[in-house]
Symmetry: C2
Subunit: 299 residues, 2 copies
């Protein structure tokens, strides 16, 4: 059983819609890493239902990204033009709805327990996306709200995918839930850190796009806590602004001064290490390696 089988299953389900132009649009959605499907294949290999289950989860994930990109006015997704950029916001909304509803239709074929877990994750995911937008409206110094939001927006579906597969494979679901949740939260935290430490091609230094878009990610929350009163004010004044070179440099220096990035990396690593420990104890080499690679590839 392989990712290829999942891709084929997604194609088969989409073709059942019998709508050529929709099939065409969906074919333009880049597949991405298929993290959720890969986890499920590792947790529940050699089980026929895993293929369909993974296809459903990836369709839900794709639907959520279509709507996210409309909401974020994103023109790119995974290095290529986003669906809203290619076909307009309306098509992206509608195709997202079609993908969601087809996924739910297929989900209903699984037992109630599974359907509840996955649909509950989609409730979380939708609320998380909304909370992400809300938190971007003002400077958010609240770590708990940040954590809850990234759990809902990113980790809930990965957690649900892991639990789904654990149920299919008759494995101890709590272990796999924790693994999926930790990976999901760490994955989002790493993404947020990379926005600060990766050089932008055009600038030659980090663009700090998240902060410009209003997103007060974990490093900014810790930085705010560490700064003195005056600098707190300065940081807040730069929130959601187009930063000039010296403002950017100031933020980056302050991150360095207070060792914020390492602190955030360690927090993400703590979650990943807990996930790795669980998988070591469970003898899950493949899942251990997925977690290790997530860190290696990023930092």
């Amino acid at each position: 059983m392989s990712l290829q089988a999942v891709e084929k299953e997604i194609d088969r389900l989409i073709k059942e819609l019998n709508e050529e132009d929709i099939i065409e649009i969906i074919s333009k959605i880049p597949a991405g890493k298929r993290l959720r499907a890969r986890l499920m294949l590792e947790i529940a290999p050699n089980i026929k239902e895993t293929i369909k289950g993974a296809a459903i989860i990836e369709m839900i994930h794709a639907a959520s990204l279509l709507h996210d990109d409309v909401i974020d006015n994103a023109s790119m997704r995974r290095g290529v033009a986003s669906i809203n950029a290619l076909y307009g916001n309306k098509s992206a909304i509608m195709v997202g709805d079609i993908l969601y509803s087809k996924a739910f239709f297929e989900l209903v074929g699984f037992k109630e327990e599974i359907a509840k877990i996955v649909s509950n994750a989609v409730v979380n995911l939708s609320i998380g996306e909304r909370e992400d937008v809300r938190l971007s409206e003002e400077f958010n110094p609240n770590k708990d709200r940040y954590y809850k939001m990234i759990y809902q927006k990113t980790a809930a579906l990965i957690e649900a995918a892991s639990e789904f597969a654990a149920i299919l494979a008759n494995k101890d679901r709590e272990i796999y839930k924790t693994y999926g949740r930790n990976l999901g939260i760490a994955f989002q935290m790493i993404d947020d850190i990379l926005d600060i430490i990766s050089d932008s091609k055009t600038l030659g230094k980090p663009a700090l796009s998240d902060f410009k878009e209003g997103k007060t990610t974990l490093p900014y929350i810790y930085l705010y806590e560490a700064l003195n009163k005056e600098d707190k004010k300065r940081l807040k004044s730069l929130h959601k602004k187009e930063l000039n070179s010296s403002e950017q440099s100031w933020i980056l220096e302050k991150f360095k001064e207070f060792n914020i990035i390492n602190r955030c990396k360690n927090e993400a690593l703590g979650l990943i290490n807990e996930a790795i420990d669980l998988m070591q104890k469970a003898g899950e080499k493949g899942l251990e390696s997925i977690a290790i690679k997530m860190v290696d590839r990023s930092f």
Copy 2:
């Protein structure tokens, strides 16, 4: 059992989301006539599950309208400001997703057969909304495509609601499916006819908004069939345009000349009468009366 119980159930389910601002936004969605809930209460009265089922269907309907209004750039809904007008497109998309996913989460508590029927209707509804937009891009002379689109966009969920209730009440589902489907198609046809025969407040004559927005509804399809070659061309040339007074009058005259509106009314009435017949035979006075009122109120 009453509509009030359904409203309370919707409120209860929304409150479970535990998100105050979302509850606030959803409270601003006008309830409308709750046609789907009323049908379900008539078909399956005195059954506890009907209340929750009707709440789910109305939440799905509300979610679809939130997305429709974004897609149509609608500023009004049921006589008040639409959610996208009040809170912006992003909020309308996200709250729509939250309503959809919460409805699906609750739907999963019903037996698989019911969950399949309803989720399949949502697939249809999403495809129908997309097809409505696509058909508006060019002049559509194809009656079959019009019929299929309004079935998917409007009738599929009403049909599913009726079947859902018939299953709950252990009644002959085919009869109620047909009733719901006919009512749904006729409902949309009547809506499309009203756009042509109802005087706009500001103009003192019909605004023909659908045609201006590109929607070639049934009367336009029949008119196109009836016109001579030259007039066919003229009609097509007016499609999707801001019409001046003489162009509007020309279209209205042509509708009169070929008796198009009566023909369309009769087609809608035929569907309604079939629905009424079925309900008479089944001794369903309440459902008969809903169908009769739908016509009386409109024409």
